[in-house]
Amino acid sequence: MPTDVLANRRIRILATLSMIVLAIFVVRLFQLQVIDHSKYVALARQEQEKRLIIPAMRGELYVMDDGKPVKAVLNQTVYTMFVDPEIVDEPEKVVKTIRQIVGGNTVKGYEDSVYQEDTRYVVVAKKVSYTQAQLVREKKLKGIGFQAESARVYPEGSLAAQTLGFVDVDGVGQYGIEGMFDKQLKGTDGLLQSVTDVANVPLTIGDKNINIPAKNGKNIALTLDRSVQAYAELALAKGIKKSGADAGSVIVMDPNNGKVMAMANLPTYNPGELNKIQSFAQVNNGVVATPYEPGSVMKTFTLATGIDKGVISPDSTYNNTDYIRVDDRVISNASKGQTGTITMQHALNWSLNTGMVTIAERLGDGSINRTARDTMYHYLYDKFRLGQKTGIEVYGESAGRIISPSETEGNAVRYSNMTFGQGMDLTMVQVAASFSAMINGGTYYSPSVIAGSVSDEGVFTPEAQRETYGGIIKPSTSAKMRDMIVKARTAFYADNDRKGYTVGGKTGTSQTIVDGSYDNGQTVATYLGFGGDTKPKYVIMVQVSGKNKNLAGNYDAMPIFTDISNWIIDYLTLQPKV
C-alpha cells in the first residue's frame, strides 16, 4: 500500500476517534451542564451558602421597686467549656487552670478527660460565666474551647419564684409568668442565609442572600413590688417557723386597682438551682393554684350579702344558743358562751357560726330555702366572682368551686356551712380580689400581676386596667363592712396595730377533709384583712397549713398579717389620722 494512502487512512481514523472522544465530551458536558444543571447548582449552593438561625433573646422579667421596674430575671451568655485532648499540649496546666477558675462548674472526671486519646471533644465545665471564660482565654492555653448559650439569671434568688416560674433545659417556660407567657417571651428567631467563606464568615456576594433580623421576646414588668414581696416572704418564713407549719401563702393586693403587690409561697425554690427542687410543693403557686375551704374569713361575705339585701344590719340581733339546727344537722359555734340576744357585730367579733346561719335563714324568710340559696349563690358567684377563675396572668390558676343550688349537693346544709366558709373551694386570689371589692366601695377589680412592658431601650409602657365590675355591693354596705371588720379586729387585737391607722381583719380556722370527713386534728389557719389611712390601701391574706398540724387563724396566720401590715404602713408612707 502506498505510504500516502496509509497516512490518509491513519489520519481519518485519528480524526474519527477524535470526533468520537469529542462527541463523548459534548454528551457528557450536556448531561452535566444542561440535564443535571439544577442538581449541581443545588449542590454548589449547599456547599457555598449557609443558613444561620439568629436566636431571639428571651424577654426579661421586671418587678416594681419604688414605682419603677427593675430586672428580676435576666439573660446572660454562659459557656460550655470543652477541651480537644489532641491539641492540648500542657494537660497539667490545663487541669490546674480549670480547677482554679471554673472549679465550681466542672463536670465529674474532668481531670482525666484532658488525657483521653479516643476523642476530640470533651465537656469539662458547664454554665461558665463570661468573666471566667475571659480569665481562661487570657491563659492562652491550646485545646480549650467555649460554646456560648443563653441562660436565665435570677439575681434575687428565690424571690417570687412561683410567680416568675422558670425555663427548663429545652428553653421552654414552665409555671408562673414564664409558663403563661412563654410564646411572647420567646420572640421570633431570625434567619441569615448567605454565601460564606471557609471560616463561615457571611459574604455579600450571591443573589440568594436572606437577612431576617430576630425579634426579641417581650420584656414584661410585673406589679409585684420587690420590697413588699421580700418582706412578705420574710414574714411568712418567720411565722411558719414559729408555728411549726409546713407550708404557707401570702397575697398582698392593692384594693383600689386589683394589682398584686406580693404573692409569697413556702416552701419555695431558687429558679437558678432547679436541680435542688425536691417536691412539687416548691414550684406550686398555692395562692392561685390551690383551692381550699377558707373558713371563717368568709363570714364577712355572708354579712355583706345580708346587709346589702337589707335583711340585717351590724346592730341586728338574734338569740344565740351556740347551736342551730339545719335539716338533720346541728351546727355549733367553735367559741361557746356568748349566748343570749347578741348583735351581728358581736357574732362577727366572736366568729359565731350560728349568727351566719341566721343570716342565711333571714335571706329565705326564716329558712335556708331555694330563695336564700339562690341569693347567696348570686352574691358569691355572680357578684363576688368566687368559685371561678379570676384570669390572673399566672400559669395554673384553679377555678375552685361553689356548688350551685340547682345541684343536688347545693342543699340547705351545704349552704349553711358555706356561710362560715366550709363546703366551698376557693383560691386565695379569688378571696382577696372579692374582699377588695367588699371594702373599696363595691368595685371588683380583676386581679392582675402585669404592670406593663419594657422596651429594649428601657421605656416602660403601663398595661391597661383589666376588667372592672362596679356595684358589686352598695357603697353603704361597703362602708358598714369596713367598720365591722375593723371592729372585729380591734375587739381583741387593737394593741397589735400602729396607732392612727385603719386596720381590720378576720380570722379563719378551717378543718381539712381527711379520708372523706372533716378532721379537727388538721386545720388550716387563715387571716384576711386590710389597712390604710383615709381609705383602704392594702389587702393581705395569709394562709398557713401543715400535715397533722392544728393551726389557728388568730395564733398562726394573724401574726404574719400584723407583721406585714405594720411594715407596709411605713413602706407606703401612710399618714396616721389625727
Partner: protein, 118 residues
C-alpha cells in the same frame, strides 16, 4: 486644495448614503494595520482587564464583609460585656445582698415619726 483626494465615485457614494456636501466622512485613517492575531490578543487582554476589574471590586466588597464581621464580633463581645455588667449590677443590688451588707447591718431602727397635720 483640501478636497483634492476626493474623486467622483466617492462623492456619488456620499450622496447615495444621504450625506451633505462638505460633511467629512473620514476623520483619520491610521497607517498601522492590525492583523487578526493582534485583534484576538487585544480582545483577550481587554477581557482580562475587565475580569481583573471585576475581581478587584468583588474582593473589595468581600473585604468589607470581613470588616463588617469584625465589627459585628466586636459588638457582640461588647454586648456580652454589657449584659455581664448588668447581671453583676443586679446581683450586687439584690435585696438579699443589700440586707446582708455591712451598711445595712450597721443601721438602727427609726424613732417613731411625727406628722404635721395641716
Amino acid at each position: 486644495m483640501s478636497h483634492s483626494h476626493y474623486n467622483r465615485n466617492q462623492y456619488a457614494a456620499r450622496r447615495r448614503s444621504g450625506m451633505n456636501r462638505n460633511q467629512n466622512s473620514v476623520a483619520f485613517v491610521s497607517s498601522i494595520k492590525l492583523g487578526p492575531v493582534t485583534h484576538t490578543v487585544l480582545v483577550a487582554l481587554m477581557i482580562t482587564v475587565l475580569g481583573l476589574i471585576y475581581l478587584t471590586q468583588a474582593i473589595k466588597a468581600t473585604s468589607y464583609d470581613y470588616e463588617t464581621e469584625k465589627i459585628s464580633s466586636q459588638i457582640t463581645r461588647l454586648e456580652e460585656e454589657q449584659v455581664n455588667l448588668e447581671v453583676e449590677n443586679a446581683k450586687l443590688t439584690a435585696l438579699s445582698e443589700v440586707r446582708d451588707s455591712s451598711v445595712a447591718r450597721a443601721m438602727v431602727s427609726p424613732e417613731a415619726p411625727s406628722y404635721v397635720n395641716n
